[in-house]
């Protein structure tokens, strides 16, 4: 067991730090062209698609280096490495693994160059978490040149701004198990018959949308993988989530802010930092975040050794879900009536950011598979307990 980095890893960390020092001015000093210049620079460093093979234009970076890169970026609160979050997280790796050479040439450079952004069309109205139950229909035209898509997706995040969507469709309905007969298509959002309707959430944001498909024609060469193999393509893509190092850094950062709030707050007429239960809550948050950190390192070590990761990542997903709900809610409760005020309120705490965040957790908690689903995954895949329901 060794928590020191090797000399070359330390050198890489230093390289990232030097880069950030030189290229990341404080927010107030950033000009209108800052973001595009930033994206060009990190692309030139090959830090976009850092872990992707060099052949497709990625960085070919190691897992450890990737963790270092994520950690330093999060510590510096740097802008993202590339604008297509979904493209970099899932679509790109999916195309690299299952795409044709033409698809790779057509899609990968645009993702890396932040020219094209992607969204993911998985969930449907009647089976949110049960992806395999999708009903959106894709029919091959008689000439075999197009799929005609009809159906509806929902909870598609970033859809209002995305250029392309990776779409799960059903090409076969008479299947013995629902995971069969699913086909994955890459669809231009400007295709006639594709309509986006944003959904407002309880915090007043519109990050998610419904996407409707009405006789939308998708060229057959935009199918990713073979017909009927869409489930495998998707599962592989979703498995591409790496360690949660960056998340942990963000949570530590949030914990610092929360500690700072405690130091500034009063409770029952006394400094809140004297309040025993407040102190304990903060320490409990720290314990969970630290557990995520070292859990992540253990799982990373497993990967480095080439051992297959089972579903251990669900452990950190559960911690993250509870932290997402509890930390903001704690901040709101700590501040009593003032905690309820939103931005613009005379007594609003930290410009209402905690109040707003306390309404925003479902994006993370439900979006990534509900906690109950994570518990089932652990119980069934790790502990080997029987499946529930009549499946």
């Amino acid at each position: 067991m060794d928590f020191e980095l090797s000399a070359s890893e330390e050198a890489f960390r230093q390289e990232v730090r030097d880069f950030l020092k030189e290229n990341l001015p404080p927010p107030r000093e950033r000009g209108p062209n800052f973001l595009s210049e930033w994206l060009t620079k990190v692309r030139a460093k090959r830090w976009v698609g850092f872990s992707w093979p060099k052949e497709v234009g990625g960085g070919g970076g190691s897992i450890i280096e990737q963790a270092i890169l994520k950690e330093e970026m999060a510590l510096a609160k740097a802008p993202p490495l590339g604008m297509s979050m979904m493209g970099l997280a899932w679509v790109g790796p999916g195309i690299i693994q299952y795409g044709t050479d033409e698809q790779k040439q057509r899609f990968i450079p645009d993702i890396l160059d932040s020219k094209v952004t992607w969204c993911t069309g998985y969930s449907e109205p009647n089976h949110g978490s049960d992806l395999a139950a999708i009903q959106t229909k894709a029919e091959l035209t008689a000439d075999g040149k197009h799929y005609v898509v009809n159906g509806q997706k929902i909870w598609t995040s970033l859809a209002p701004w995305a250029d392309w969507i990776i779409l799960l469709t059903r090409t076969q309905f008479d299947v013995d198990v629902k995971h069969k007969g699913i086909t994955c298509l890459l669809v231009d959002m400007k295709t006639p018959g594709v309509e986006v309707r944003p959904i407002e959430n309880m915090a007043g944001d519109r990050h998610f949308a419904e996407v409707f498909f009405t006789n939308a024609k998708v060229p057959v060469e935009n199918r990713l993988g073979k017909e009927g193999e869409g489930w495998m393509v998707t599962v592989s893509a979703l498995a591409n989530e790496r360690s949660s190092i960056g998340e942990v850094t963000q949570l530590y950062d949030k914990l610092d802010t929360l500690r700072d709030l405690v130091k500034r707050s009063k409770k029952n007429g006394q400094p809140a930092s004297n309040d025993q239960s407040t102190r304990r809550r903060i320490a409990e948050f720290e314990a969970k975040i630290a557990a995520m950190k070292y859990n992540g390192m253990r799982y990373l070590t497993k990967q480095l050794k080439g051992e297959p990761l089972s579903s251990e990542t669900s452990v950190n997903k559960l911690h993250r879900a509870s932290l997402e709900i509890d930390m903001d809610d704690f901040a709101v409760a700590l501040s009593g009536a003032a905690g309820l005020e939103l931005a613009g309120g005379a007594e609003a705490v930290d410009k209402g950011k905690w109040a707003k965040a306390s309404l925003g957790w479902p994006n993370v908690v439900i979006g990534g598979g509900t906690p109950n689903i994570q518990r089932n995954i652990i119980a069934e895949r790790i502990l080997g307990l029987p499946k529930d329901g009549s499946d």
């Binding site: 969930s123 407002e200 959430n201 007429g269 009536a337 309820l340 309120g345 209402g352 109040a355 109950n372």
Partner: protein, 364 residues
């Protein structure tokens, strides 16, 4: 012994429930939420005609002279319907007048409150999370009240502010009409738009009869009444959340089964039921003590509000979570209840305050 409601009370409950369903359904609530001041004169007038605005005001002053147990019945139903109307703050202002006012003051104000011709609100503490006489800091010197009162409930629609302050005579309640010169009201954006709060800025000289003495006991009593009233609305709100979530669990299919078939969902709903039943029982006892055993009120109110504050906040969050993604869309109603539970948690004392008080009353 009888820990149940009378037939009259059950009729009252039906009446309020029908009013909420017919005149003030959630679609109407949302319209009121979208207004600037958060009010609806028309609905308020209907409530006034039904006598609910003076429910616990003595008959001698134009009220119905009913008890807090009756009021609880009404508030459970307004809470169930997520009423944005200022019944709680208005009633508390009336209770403050009835308890602290001189005969002349009561005669001057209570009939107007009972009839609804004046809408009032009560504002006690200047600190967001401190329930204590020292948390009243706004000060009047020579009857001139200068400063601001934050977190005033239903500030957008009140005609009369009953405001706790300090005077040369000690703690007092000031009766400040909204239209007095030197009174300015700024509504604050808060997460629950059915419970608008505002800041009242004051630079106003009041007449002697616009002050009432407020003993520490009175302040505690009014706070306890507030805790009881908020808890009563929470019972209705939590039951509505449970009902919506249970109904959803009975029709939503995931992985080939109704989600209501999974113990992960069933057991959480069962625990919600356990909690609601429990703080409801604690509430009923507390409501009874207001009129019939006031020496028991402090402990009873603290037990009810402490239990309800945390349990309801959990129910609010889990109600959304068990709905999955649909639950947190703005157009779905369950998230409105989540916001109400967050609003109610600190109102008149959070669980830390009330459990601490229970411990002290128990001799620790």
């Amino acid at each position: 012994m009888n820990f149940g409601f009378t037939e009259e009370q059950e009729l009252l409950r039906d009446q309020v429930r029908k009013f909420m369903q017919g005149a003030c359904p959630l679609s109407t609530v949302r319209k009121i939420m979208a207004t600037d001041d958060g009010g609806s004169r028309a609905l308020w007038q209907q409530m006034a005609e039904l006598g609910w605005l003076g429910l616990v005001v003595p008959e001698a002053y134009g009220g119905l002279g009913l008890k807090w147990v009756d009021l609880t019945v009404v508030l459970e139903e307004t809470g169930r319907g997520l009423s944005p109307l200022p019944l709680v703050s208005h009633t508390l202002a009336a209770v403050a007048l009835a308890r602290c006012g001189t005969e002349a003051q009561k005669k001057a104000w209570l009939p107007a409150l009972a009839s609804g011709s004046t809408t009032a609100t009560l504002a006690l503490y200047d600190e967001p999370n401190w329930i204590h006489p020292d948390a009243v800091t706004l000060t009047a010197k020579n009857r001139r009240l200068v400063g601001s009162k934050p977190f005033v409930a239903d500030a957008g629609v009140a005609d009369l502010f009953v405001i706790a302050c300090r005077t040369e005579a000690g703690l007092s309640l000031a009766l400040v009409p909204r239209d007095a010169t030197g009174v300015a009201v700024a509504l604050q954006p808060i997460m629950d738009r059915t419970k608008r709060m505002g800041t009242v800025t004051l630079d106003v000289v009041l007449a002697p009869d616009q002050f009432m003495a407020l003993a520490d006991d009175d302040l505690a009593y009014l706070t306890d009444c507030g805790a009881v009233a908020v808890t009563a609305e929470l019972v209705g709100a939590a039951e509505a959340t449970l009902a919506m979530t249970t109904a959803y669990a009975k029709q939503r299919v995931q992985f080939g089964n109704l989600i209501g078939k999974y113990q992960g969902v069933k057991h959480r709903l069962a625990e919600m039921f356990v909690d609601i039943e429990s703080f409801k029982s604690l509430l009923y006892y507390a409501a009874w003590t207001v009129d019939d055993a006031p020496h028991e009120l402090p402990r009873a109110a603290s037990l009810a509000k402490a239990y309800a504050s945390d349990a309801a906040a959990r129910i609010g969050i889990d109600g959304v979570q068990l709905h999955g993604a649909i639950g947190f869309t703005a157009e779905y109603d369950v998230q409105l209840y989540l916001k109400r539970t967050k609003w109610a948690r600190p109102a008149y004392g959070d669980s830390d305050h009330h459990y601490e008080r229970v411990a002290a009353l128990g001799g620790l």
